[in-house]
């Protein structure tokens, strides 16, 4: 017990002794854990929203769309199969039939298509769309499906033109009986549009009163009408079987006749019934969140990698001081195991703090990003922070800390005590070709190249971290190029895509921040490591500006291949996230800008600690070596 | 016993033989244990014959050596001054220089720190000469070996002189 107290006390004292480094470590790991928490929280959200919407709106177990053909100019009436379906065996409740029409939509200068469903002002038995703003349909007032409303940019009180008539938006709502915009036509859209101006991703759902519906000018064929019936089954588990049993196939013996006058000489008008079970809606809804998840997971992985890189640089940078402390501890009798325990304890302490901070941040930030599909009643407020999420985040934080510090800790613990006391830090390796090459370069490159050659492992870490950051930037650019290339007419926004892009951007900002941290840490470690070398260089005649430039060059030299590597890495990352769909490579100009931007930022961040170091008087540093 | 040392000891005040002996013993410590008790009287009588010290018999007492009081003559004074100022290095004997400093301080003949400095300067010059000569010799020559020995001894002596300077400066500060 006493040993545990001792270890904790020594570890805490060491952290307090160097607060800046401890803080940097904390920041690095916290960023990773925050992103991870977000990712995991979103993951939990995926499975629930459809169910919640269904519960909140008394959603149907099956939806039937009955297409009836009627004579042009005649008002359609619900055909016989509708009543048959509503009273079919296995059906416990039903609502409808609701007439649907396809119309053209004009709102705020945006042009789109909509399926308008006629509803009563009183709530229906099955499928009561839940209002997310405003009020339900009334004469002259329509309700727009929430995501569709977002895309159109309308809210309660705005004017909207449907089928040539202008209405007021009374409110917005969500429903489980349809798939939210822009994927509505994956499950619905039995009727088409008479011209092919619109693609299926530009069509959404709107509810209106019956008379309002009748007043709209239809966009679809004038001889067809769709009736929608929402069904609740006694056995919801058999919804798909029910749907298959009651949908019309191409076999003509399933065709039933509708009521109304027959077209002479052609027999009764055909009726097509297609029933969809609730599982189809659930999976279509889930797709939306999965898309978001696909952006977040690789992002979280990248963030975690960057965090590990930062921690490794910081931990490695502290190793020189650790070596001497280790020697002292061992000289007074501490076993190598105890020494390793102290070194690890510091980082475990930090990891636990970071995990807590990351969990809190992630939990607070989640509602800002999650609004799963917007078309569903997602987890209101914050996603639940289950025990498993907490456990996973803590474990990852600990792993990050351990991964980066195990090697230095073991090395420090097993260095011979004498060597450790004499503070013989790892002597730099000699690279004759680099030295000969650097002699022909201007002074800052000479210094920079030689500094890089001294610590190749740190240079590799720099390459990795810059590559990861550049990959993030390139992924965003690729997203832009691929996705915006797809949108038709460019008029209608796609909230899901917008949100994907938002998240990618947020992630990239986080990645850039982490990479910036990394660059500062790496530069600082270089400054510390090169303190004697730069003091000597100045004593031999290098100006402070040359030394600063040299240290900046030492960061830039590995950053260049890193930034270039980030391009294929980012493209690959996007491809992996997009399930190998075809992607558009961003314009060369943008890529060049990304590379140059990264390099510029690295240079700037590196020169800050370098400038501070280069201004210190030379004599004390060199004297310290001798005493 | 070096004649000049005895002379310098009398510079403080005229003394009996036994008084001189006790002061010597105090100054030399264990290094002076081997000294013969009678030596000092032999030196004193030689100095008297040479006219450098004068001898007074305390009246009324029998003619026994320890009743005599010795004092410096004018010639003796001159000899002491010359000895203090002399910077030739005696060789392995440290005692003489050591006593020079003590007697100079006791008899207010000269500032011991100044004496040390003068001797240091001389030794440094000698060191320079010996070093130059040593380096002019071809490597591994016999002469070179001897010269290296001289150099090393001079260096050692210089270290001791530095210690003397520190020591005597401290005494001055304390008074």
């Amino acid at each position: 017990m006493g040993k545990l107290v001792l270890v904790t006390r020594l570890a805490a004292r060491d952290l307090r002794h160097r607060p800046a480094q401890a803080l940097l470590l904390l920041l690095a790991i916290t960023t990773a854990t925050a992103v991870l928490t977000l990712g995991l929280a979103l993951h939990g959200v995926t499975s629930h929203p459809y169910q919640q919407t269904r519960a909140a709106t008394n959603g149907p177990d099956a939806v039937a769309q009955v297409v009836v053909t009627h004579r042009a100019g005649q008002r359609p009436v619900p055909p016989a199969p509708v009543a048959k379906l509503m009273h079919a065996p296995g059906v416990s409740a039903a609502s409808g039939p609701f007439l649907e029409t396809t119309v053209y939509v004009h709102a705020h200068g945006v042009f789109a298509g909509a399926v308008v469903e006629g509803r009563d002002q009183a709530p229906s038995r099955v499928d009561r769309p839940k209002l997310t703003s405003g009020s339900w349909v009334r004469p002259g007032g329509v309700v727009v499906e929430r995501t569709f409303a977002e895309a159109l940019g309308v809210g309660p009180g705005d004017r909207i033109t449907l089928g040539g008539r202008t209405f007021t938006v009374a409110g917005t709502a969500v429903t489980a009986a349809s798939t939210p915009f822009p994927n509505m036509c994956e499950t619905d859209c039995a009727l088409g549009f008479s011209d092919a101006v619109l693609t299926s991703r530009n069509i959404g759902l709107i509810w209106a009163t019956g008379p309002d519906l009748a007043a709209m000018h239809p966009a679809g064929p004038s001889t067809q009408a769709v009736y929608v019936v929402n069904l609740k089954l006694r056995d919801p588990a058999r919804a798909d079987a029910f749907a298959a049993a009651h949908s019309t196939t191409s076999d003509s013996d399933q065709v039933s006749t509708g009521s109304g006058p027959t077209v002479s000489g052609q027999g009764p008008p055909p009726v097509v019934v297609s029933v969809t079970g609730w599982p189809a809606y659930a999976s279509a809804a889930a797709q939306l969140v999965v898309d978001e998840q696909q952006v977040l997971s690789p992002g979280a992985v990248l963030a975690a990698l960057l965090a590990i890189a930062s921690v490794a640089v910081l931990a490695g940078g502290r190793m020189a001081e650790q070596t001497r402390r280790t020697g002292l501890l061992k000289a007074v009798g501490a076993t190598p195991r105890l020494v390793a325990a102290i070194l690890l304890a510091e980082h475990v302490l930090l990891a636990l703090l970071s995990a807590a901070a990351g969990l809190v941040i992630g939990w607070l930030a989640a509602p800002l990003i999650t609004s799963p599909g917007a078309g569903l009643v997602g987890a209101p407020g914050a996603p639940s922070l289950t025990g498993s999420i907490v456990a996973e985040v803590v474990i990852v934080a600990l792993l990050v800390a351990l991964a980066a510090t195990t090697v230095p800790a073991i090395r420090a613990a097993h260095t011979s005590t004498v060597r450790a006391l004499s503070d013989a830090a790892r002597p730099p390796r000699r690279r004759p070709r680099l030295i000969a090459l650097s002699a022909r370069l201007p002074v800052p490159l000479l210094l920079g190249l030689r500094l890089v050659a001294r610590r190749p492992r740190r240079a590799l870490l720099s390459v990795a971290s810059v590559a990861i950051t550049a990959a993030g930037v390139v992924a965003v650019l690729t997203f832009h190029a691929t996705v915006t290339g797809v949108s038709i007419t460019g008029q209608l926004g796609n909230p899901v895509l917008d949100r994907d892009e938002q998240m990618l951007t947020v992630l990239t900002v986080v990645l850039i921040a982490l990479a910036g941290l990394n660059a500062v840490c790496s530069a600082w470690a270089t400054v510390l490591d090169a303190r004697t070398a730069s003091a000597l260089a100045r004593a031999l005649g290098a100006t402070p500006r040359q030394v600063t430039a040299g240290i900046a060059a030492a960061q830039l030299i590995p950053a260049l291949p890193g930034a270039l590597l980030g391009i294929p890495l980012g493209l690959g990352l996007f491809a992996a996230a997009d399930h190998g769909n075809k992607l558009t490579v961003p314009a060369a100009g943008w890529l060049a800008l990304a590379v140059l931007g990264t390099l510029a930022v690295v240079a700037l961040l590196a020169s800050l600690p370098a400038r501070i170091g280069a201004r210190h008087p030379v004599a004390p540093v060199l004297q310290a070596e001798t005493t | 016993m070096q004649q000049e040392v005895v002379l310098a000891m009398l510079a403080k005040e005229p003394s009996h033989g036994y008084q001189l002996r006790s002061r010597l013993q105090q100054a030399l410590g264990p290094a002076g244990d081997a000294m013969n008790a009678g030596q000092i009287y032999v030196t004193l009588s030689r100095l008297e014959k040479g006219g450098l010290v004068s001898c007074e018999q305390t009246a009324g007492l029998p003619d026994r050596p320890d009743r005599k009081v010795y004092a410096l003559t004018a010639a003796g004074q001159q000899r002491v001054s010359a000895w203090i100022a002399d910077v030739s290095w005696p060789g392995p004997g440290l005692a003489e220089f050591h006593l020079k400093l003590i007697t100079a301080a006791a008899g207010r003949l000269a500032d011991p720190v100044a004496v040390v400095d003068a001797q240091r300067r001389e030794l440094l010059r000698r060191l320079r000469e010996a070093q130059r000569a040593a380096m002019a010799e071809p490597e591994r020559s016999d002469a070179g070996l001897l010269l290296e020995g001289i150099t090393l001894r001079l260096q050692a002596d210089l270290r001791w002189l530095e210690a003397c300077e520190r020591n005597w400066t401290g005494r001055k500060d304390r008074e």
Binding site: R430, I435, A439, L540, R545 | S88, R126, L147, I150
Partner: protein, 248 residues
């Protein structure tokens, strides 16, 4: 004598260097005047902590004086910005440290050529000059050795060669034999003597009397001030034989 010959290579007036705050002020150098003529070797001796190393740092531009004036080769340097001081250190002044301060991962010749490279000299010219100097100090066969493979005396000789690479007007050495044993000290001694003979101006800070004995002038320092000065070029009173124990 021409004007340039009369101008001292180094001149300092009223040099002071203080550390600390009002409560505890440490005066490392407390009012020092110094003149060093061209071709002269000056040694500064004193106990540790007397400020002689600080004095050397001030005079070479590695540290700034709290007050006082310093002229190097006729140029006033105590107010110069860092950039100009750096140029000074690579063109006018060569510095030899007690701890050698050679770069471990460079060979001897790469260490020596470094100041020339920092001054912007082309690589080939710098390499040639470095090889010449290593030859001059007698280490031509060790040019490709790293410091770890050299003895203490050899390392310091490499450091001296490095200090000479830009043909400086003044070479400053801070306890050059402080980390060396007796034999290595001899090596460095020989080197300083040969430099002196070649007319190089040297200021050496040391507590080794053997090194000090190579100087023309020896200045004693204590508690930040000069306490005495000796001209060693004057003759001596005794013979070498007497020192060896020979009579007569």
């Amino acid at each position: 004598m021409s004007e340039t010959e009369q101008t001292p290579v180094l001149r300092a007036r009223g040099l002071r260097k203080e550390y600390g705050s009002q409560g505890s002020l440490v005066r490392a150098v407390d009012g020092v005047d110094l003149d060093v003529a061209a071709g002269e070797t000056v040694a500064v001796m004193g106990p540790s902590g007397c400020g002689k190393s600080t004095l050397l740092h001030l005079v070479s531009g590695l540290d700034r004086p709290s007050s006082g004036e310093i002229w190097l080769a006729g140029l006033r340097i105590d107010q110069l910005p860092e950039r100009a001081l750096a140029r000074l250190r690579r063109d006018t002044v060569g510095f030899v440290f007690q701890a050698f301060h050679l770069m471990d991962e460079l060979t001897a010749v790469e260490n020596v050529e470094l100041p020339a490279l920092l001054a912007g000299r082309p690589a080939r010219a710098a390499r040639r000059r470095a090889s010449e100097l290593l030859d001059q100090v007698g280490l031509a066969d060790r040019a490709r050795f790293r410091p770890a493979a050299l003895s203490g005396g050899q390392r310091q000789r490499v450091a001296v060669a490095r200090a000479l690479v830009s043909e400086p007007k003044l070479v400053l050495a801070d306890e050059p034999t402080g980390n060396l044993d007796s034999e290595a000290t001899l090596e460095v001694l020989r080197l300083f003597e040969s430099l002196h003979a070649a007319g190089q101006t040297l200021v050496i800070v040391t507590h080794d009397s053997r090194i000090a004995a190579t100087a023309d002038r020896l200045i004693g320092m204590r508690d930040g001030v000069f306490v005495d000065e000796t001209r060693l070029a004057d003759g001596t009173t005794g013979s070498l034989g007497a020192l060896a124990g020979l009579e007569g």
